[in-house]
Symmetry: C2
Subunit: 520 residues, 2 copies
């Protein structure tokens, strides 16, 4: 890299983000997100953890084959079979990278029960093995911020000598503070022989609300790769938010003279898509991508007092691709207009899918005067969610609710066979879910149910997200419709369809669960 102020953006939405309880994405969704990340200019996409499951392997492998520009990275524990499997998944990428890791802090060393020397030897062997397969190898000492400094320097040196080209320093538990984060990178650059020849990365978690500041402090100290996720998706309080570090370096380039390859105008679209496929809402007061992030107290602009927008704004909505109230299409729009809009929004559709989406678009345009970008995204999301699996399908629903009680008449098709039931419940949603249970008995427990209007206005589509859990397996379903109750049933059935797929992989799943604890 010729520009010493160029900071690489390593996105792990599809690996560390997707690992959040309930954020599981489908194969199709992963491919879509990877394509959007590539188009936005992300330098490295961590596409998954190939040995964790067949699904992860398939997604990483397909993303590796399709991606145009980004480096595609696969995660592997410090074990030969993991590394071989990761290589198998990424080897067809234009630019593949193996990322292998092991927990180096005292608490993490105790898990595989290795002493310092044994672990050092394991690191030397596994990094060498990875480098024999691939020129581009990243190594991470998990829980680095709680690892003894001398030992950290020792193992980083070993990994560099064994061929690692990127050394990532994870703050696995979101424990560090900016000054500490900078000091750690500075120490490694000063003390470790060969440190100047490789790239240091920073991987922060937001448990104490400081992931963004910690990442930027590491960069100021010499790190040149930031590991992050869209919307800060990730376990617990999440990972560093890509949109925050990228925009902070852009807005405050005077004191942080670093640059990235990110096209920031694509941020908002990616944020919305990730929120939708993961079912993780973005709070209104979220930095950069929250609904209110650019919203000032009503009346300010109307008063006309502000001659200069900079008085209260340090960024413009357009910088992140936010164009509110953009009426895009109406009931007279044709198929070409719809396809063009879909392309703008990052969707590539085949002719058959376009035909299906167009029918649904027309139905929506008949009901809704103004069709916004958000409506189109919800429509696409819904289409993807409900064509993926067809064990269960909703055919007809009639619900009565209100002050006098609630009941649902539901007809579903279960593996081709039509079934109808009448059910009651505490509220219309409960009545519907009881009807689904009567048709397709299951033990899954509803963990989360939420509804968000896609746009303003009482005739807006509502996106319903449900998350359910069965024997430790968590699946999510989503659906959008102007009828909240119908959307609820479709989301619930969508989650059940995913659960059925997960049940079929029962052996692999328990393995995946065990593996997940090793990831940082």
């Amino acid at each position: 890299m010729t520009d010493k102020n160029r900071v690489l953006i390593f996105d792990t939405t599809l690996r560390d983000g997707e690992q959040s309880p309930g954020a599981t994405m489908s194969h199709v969704e992963k491919l879509e997100i990877a394509q959007l990340l590539d188009e936005m200019g992300v330098d490295i996409i961590e596409a998954g953890f190939p040995i964790a499951s067949e699904g992860d392997f398939a997604a990483v492998s397909e993303i590796a084959k399709r991606t145009q520009n980004s480096v595609i990275c696969g995660l592997a524990r410090a074990q030969f079979p993991d590394i071989d499997r990761a290589w198998e998944a990424i080897k067809h990428a234009k630019r593949p990278r193996i990322h292998t890791f092991i927990g180096t802090s005292p608490l993490h060393r105790a898990i595989p029960n290795l002493d310092m020397d044994q672990m050092a030897e394991r690191i030397e062997q596994t990094v060498t093995h990875a480098r024999n397969l691939c020129d581009n190898v990243q190594w991470s000492p998990m829980d680095a911020t709680r690892t003894e400094h001398d030992y950290l320097c020792r193992v980083v040196e070993i990994a560099i000598k064994a061929g690692a080209t990127t050394i990532n320093i994870p703050d696995t538990v979101g424990y560090t503070a900016p000054r500490e984060s900078a000091d750690l990178i500075r120490m490694l650059l000063e003390r470790v022989p060969g440190a100047d020849d490789i790239i240091f990365a920073t991987h922060c978690h937001n448990d104490l609300g400081m992931a963004t500041a910690n990442s930027l402090a590491a960069v100021e100290a010499g790190a040149r790769q930031i590991e992050c996720t869209i919307n800060g998706l990730g376990e617990r309080a999440g990972n560093t938010a890509l949109e925050e570090v990228v925009m902070a370096m852009k807005v405050r380039n005077d004191i942080m003279p670093f640059n990235t390859g990110i096209d920031t105008t694509k941020i908002m679209n990616l944020s919305r898509r990730v929120a939708q496929v993961s079912g993780f809402v973005v709070q209104p007061n979220k930095a950069i991508v929250g609904k209110n992030a650019f919203l000032h107290e009503s009346g300010i602009h109307q008063d006309g007092v502000l001659k200069n927008v900079e008085t209260f704004e340090i960024m413009r909505p357009a910088d992140i691709g936010l164009n509110e109230n953009n009426i895009v299409l109406g009931k007279h729009s044709g198929r070409a207009a719809l396809r063009s809009k879909l392309t703008d929004l990052g969707f590539e559709v085949g002719d058959n899918q376009l035909k299906d989406v167009f029918v649904r678009f027309k139905a929506l345009a008949d009901r809704k005067k103004e069709v916004y970008d958000e409506d189109i995204v919800a429509l696409m999301q819904d289409t993807a969610a409900n064509t993926e699996s067809d064990h269960l399908q909703v055919k007809h629903l009639r619900v009565v609710c209100g002050s006098d009680g609630q009941s649902a008449d539901l007809t579903m098709i279960v593996d081709g066979e039509e079934k109808t039931v009448h059910a009651t419940g505490d509220g219309p949603v409960d009545a519907c879910f009881n009807a689904v249970k009567a048709i397709f008995p299951h033990q899954a427990r509803l963990q989360l149910y939420q509804v968000h209007a896609v746009t303003e206005g009482t005739d807006a589509q509502a996106t319903v997200t449900v998350r359910m859990e069965e024997d430790g397996r968590i699946v999510a379903g989503q659906s959008a419709d102007t009828d909240t109750i119908l959307a609820s049933v479709k989301a619930y059935v969508g989650a059940l369809n995913r659960l059925i797929v997960r049940r079929e992989q029962v052996g692999k799943d328990s393995d995946a669960k065990h593996i997940s604890m090793y990831s940082h």
Copy 2:
């Protein structure tokens, strides 16, 4: 203050937080939140902006009279009538504070069209006036982080000489970074005569995701008051989150040896209440108080691999008062048990209110097997929301929805008169809202509609939040019920009731709008 490491917590949820578009709280809600803040050990409560409206004045005044321990602060622009009005509102407090401010950066100096000398004179006069009324005076140079350093030192010195006992340094646009934030406080402490005799405060916004780190950096440099809000509520990306700075200093006391007077076990309850009354959801991956903040990838604990919880946890859920799945009451619980639980949750209820809540509790317990803390909170929230105003009341509702279309039969009481309509719409919610509009015509536009299940399980209560806007006035309504559609109507009608109250204050409102732009 004898302990030099004691950091004062200044909560501005009721002022800067409540100022967020759509976060407007009712009088009763403000009193409740103030009481919870006082009980949690907040040092200073900024209760409102007394000259902004009659409502703000009444709330600040009532909070001043009721609060037991916290200092009660009222905000005022750099004008004598503002300062007099603030004093009028807080003078009955056990420990009152006047907070006056003016924008000192070039962009903000241009608004009142004052040159540097004229502004300096205004500061001298207004701080002196405030100090003549009250011993405890806080002064803020708005947009301090974009004010010329020499001029900032000059005006801070003037304010100290005029009697300010706290100098607050606001990062009004959320522009600063930790090192800068620290450097600014350090510079003021070094260069300004008299700086050692007063307390410096830091007031950060989260536009670039660094409010927590910026606040803590200021403390490390010598600031001893942090201005913050629950959940980081506030305009745009919000203010510094109280829960993040307080927990960061607690968890990382080894490198940040500062202490506060906050009882952290009350954090979770306050977070939930503020989310409910403001209608601002907390995202699952929010630090400290997000639903997932303490949730690990399913299977980890089940696997029993972790002998030591610290491997992935730096805080315990109990530290913030989080006790999940605490079944508290059932259908056989009596009135005394309910009152005791309400007291635990921070609600003080009179006998009449208890009677009403008990009836509603019994009805819920009949429908729902397990009644959790969250259910009780939702019940109380709903009770508060629907007794406040009685212009409009929902009497009876019957809704039909599903695949064949949607319709609503609604009976409401409008100022004592019963009215019934039949309406259709795009979805059951739209049909209901159309019915409400037919009974009570209005032009307000629905800005936000969201539904969250209060607890897990398909029989959970759902909390519905609606936010609507009419002529720049934004009001919110909330309701909880196991029937989502009924809750939607009640929330919508609740918001309309508030809108009616706001309409009656039309003159004051346009004044308040103008004023708000001056607040930081």
